[in-house]
């Protein structure tokens, strides 16, 4: 199989407008990956599946990863001359900057027809809070169906174009996304909203009216 750089070069020829970044995997496994811009992800996925030299017809694994905001401290050293005439001092200046976090979806693609792979592609959301949509690759590989539902459930990435995006493992009324790194466990796992609470809420105006003194008839305040 051609190397990932060659695949990237051919992809850039086919989609000159797309941003495709090579992501190095520093570990011994050395499975590098391609970071694909979300706007072109659907076309590129289809190209990877249908290209005769690759034929990545099988998406084995789709998973999410949470990368929270990171505070990075940069240390710069400068030398300052001593005003008293002594030797110059080195001063460390620490500046902190916030590296914004993002959510990531990773797909492991293989070819059953040509028995080759894997090609790893990743998609990233803009941030972790309000811009968490990514295009769904389920129309290209049906095997992403349940897996993207699971990512939506546990990480909160909203896949546009998914035919049936519902929670997979948690119950539908559940609010949070438990696989996120900043998820806080509830004090009481068993608690969930019941109809009883809504009924009590609706009963409130009646109860306060009954408790208040009856309005006097005919008089003006």
């Amino acid at each position: 199989m051609e190397t990932l750089e060659q695949i990237r070069a051919r992809l850039l020829l086919a989609y000159p407008a797309a941003q495709i970044t090579f992501v190095t995997n520093p570990g011994p496994a050395a499975e590098h990956s391609l970071l694909i811009e979300a706007a072109h992800a659907v076309e590129i996925a289809r190209w990877l599946r249908d290209d005769p030299a690759l034929r990545l017809d099988y998406c084995s694994n789709a998973t999410g990863v949470d990368w929270p905001d990171k505070t990075i401290t940069d240390v710069t050293t400068t030398t300052e001359p001593d005003p008293a005439g002594g030797p110059a001092k080195t001063v460390e200046i620490k500046t902190t900057r916030l590296q914004p976090g993002y959510l990531e979806a990773i797909y492991h693609l293989y070819s059953i027809a040509l028995k080759q792979g894997p090609v790893v592609i990743r998609l990233r959301t803009a941030n972790r809070t309000d811009a968490v949509t990514l295009p769904s690759l389920t129309p290209t590989w049906r095997s992403c169906d349940f897996q993207e539902r699971e990512i939506f459930d546990l990480y909160g990435i909203i896949f546009t174009g998914h035919p049936d995006l519902r929670r997979l493992l948690m119950w539908d009324e559940f609010k949070d996304h438990p696989m996120r790194k900043d998820y806080v466990e509830p004090d009481d796992y068993e608690w969930e909203p019941t109809a009883h609470g809504a009924v009590l809420e609706r009963a409130k105006p009646h109860q306060s009216a009954a408790a208040a003194p009856a309005p006097k008839m005919g008089g003006t305040p």
Partner: protein
């Protein structure tokens, strides 16, 4: 877009099923929605199917998951690498040996850890014994779903009991074996153990012959399974179906041959393939794969080398793989079992993901069941082979 409401209809071509009648006139009753499970003996655990029936025929079937969800991945991310090894036993509790191996394989890939030869052979022996356990029990459960009321299952359990007795003698536990380690295995089998295992494997084909004589040509079995739950190869590949279910549709894809992980490249065995992709082919795949497993086991016992079972450089305590990521996968009895790990250099995995074959093999359950009766849906589900510990994680 509200993500909780299903939006557009599926953009992919589903298998052709009967369309829902628009008019419910006086000759036809209304459609009936039946919730099968989570407490239902035919769903093999706490799986739930919401089936819409037109008479006895299925017009819609939605699987519902999550009744056994305990967020295995989150727990593993808060534990050390070795700490979640015993917990992988609980994923597919019928096949803990191969689940252990899949996890060990991924971690070894992540850390660049070598495995000695004897340990590789022992892993193959354990994985193939597990395959015998899984497939013989699956066939038993399939016949249970067909309504034979337990008899074939008891035959299978008789054989399974012998194998898990061996597992207990070796690892101390019948089902939760916790046997593999990163860089080898935990216990070296004694010569007596190997002799007992050899004898079991020698006798196993006799059990298979007996089993097949009873089941394969059975008239009711043929009537209930041939042509039921067809799955064609193109759909199966696209939906990520793996394992015997994929091979029953005629797709030659066995990771023991394709990836040749461990020492499988040195073994002589064949990959059985089906032709029709129906329930009967899926049943036959299991029987034929058991016969191939026996062949692999015989070769492994003959060639088992002496030597250490742990790599001397393997680290059990203070194990911190370098930053990086790895996806390790192997051919489990149910399909491709993968583990995806991201390390940030700390003792815990930053990301730990299980690629469960049982869950993804259910993707096309609806398409396979549409147009059949509800009794057939039970059989089709039985032939896919799921275990809920792995589906819900």
């Amino acid at each position: 877009m509200n993500p909780f409401t299903p939006s557009a209809p599926a953009p992919f071509a589903s298998a052709p099923g009967p369309t829902v009648r628009a008019v419910h006139d006086e000759f036809h009753g209304d459609l009936l929605e039946v919730s099968m499970g989570p407490q239902h003996p035919s769903t093999h655990g706490v799986f739930r199917m919401v089936a819409t029936l037109d008479g006895e025929q299925l017009v819609k079937l939605k699987p519902v998951f999550g009744y056994l969800h305990r967020n295995h991945e989150k727990i593993a991310e808060n534990t050390t690498y070795l700490g979640s090894m015993p917990y992988t036993d609980r994923l597919d509790y019928l096949c803990s040996m191969s689940t252990n191996w899949a996890y060990a394989l991924a971690v070894e890939k992540l850390a660049g850890q070598a495995v000695p030869e004897r340990a590789q052979y022992l892993r193959i022996i354990m994985a193939e014994l597990t395959r015998l356990v899984n497939h013989s029990c699956l066939v038993g459960f399939l016949f249970n779903d067909l309504g034979t009321s337990f008899t074939p299952l008891l035959y299978a359990f008789r054989e399974r009991e012998k194998i898990i007795d061996l597992f207990e003698a070796l690892s101390g536990s019948r089902m939760m074996c916790n046997y593999q380690r990163f860089g080898g295995c935990r216990v070296d089998p004694t010569p007596e153990w190997l002799a007992a295992a050899q004898q079991l494997v020698d006798n196993f084909p006799r059990f298979l012959d007996e089993y097949e004589r009873m089941l394969t040509g059975n008239e009711i079995m043929l009537a209930r399974t041939q042509g039921v739950g067809r799955l064609d190869a193109t759909h199966a590949i696209n939906a990520g179906i793996t394992g015997p279910v994929l091979r029953a549709s005629g797709v030659d894809y066995d990771l023991r041959k394709v990836d040749a992980y461990g020492f499988y490249a040195q073994f002589d065995f064949r990959v059985p393939l089906g032709a029709h992709g129906d329930t009967y082919d899926r049943y036959m795949m299991r029987i034929l794969e058991m016969r191939e497993s026996v062949k692999i086991l015989q070769q492994a016992f003959k060639r088992l080398p002496a030597g250490p079972i742990m790599d001397p450089k393997a680290k059990l305590r203070g194990f911190r793989p370098k930053a990086g990521e790895a996806y390790g996968r192997l051919e489990g009895p149910k399909g491709e079992l993968g583990f995806f790990l991201i390390s940030d250099g700390s003792p815990n995995p930053y990301r730990y993901r299980v690629r469960p074959p049982s869950l993804i093999n259910l993707t096309l359950l609806e398409e396979m069941c549409l147009g059949h009766t509800i009794a057939d849906a039970v059989v089709i589900l039985g032939s896919i082979d799921i275990v809920l510990g792995e589906v819900d994680r």
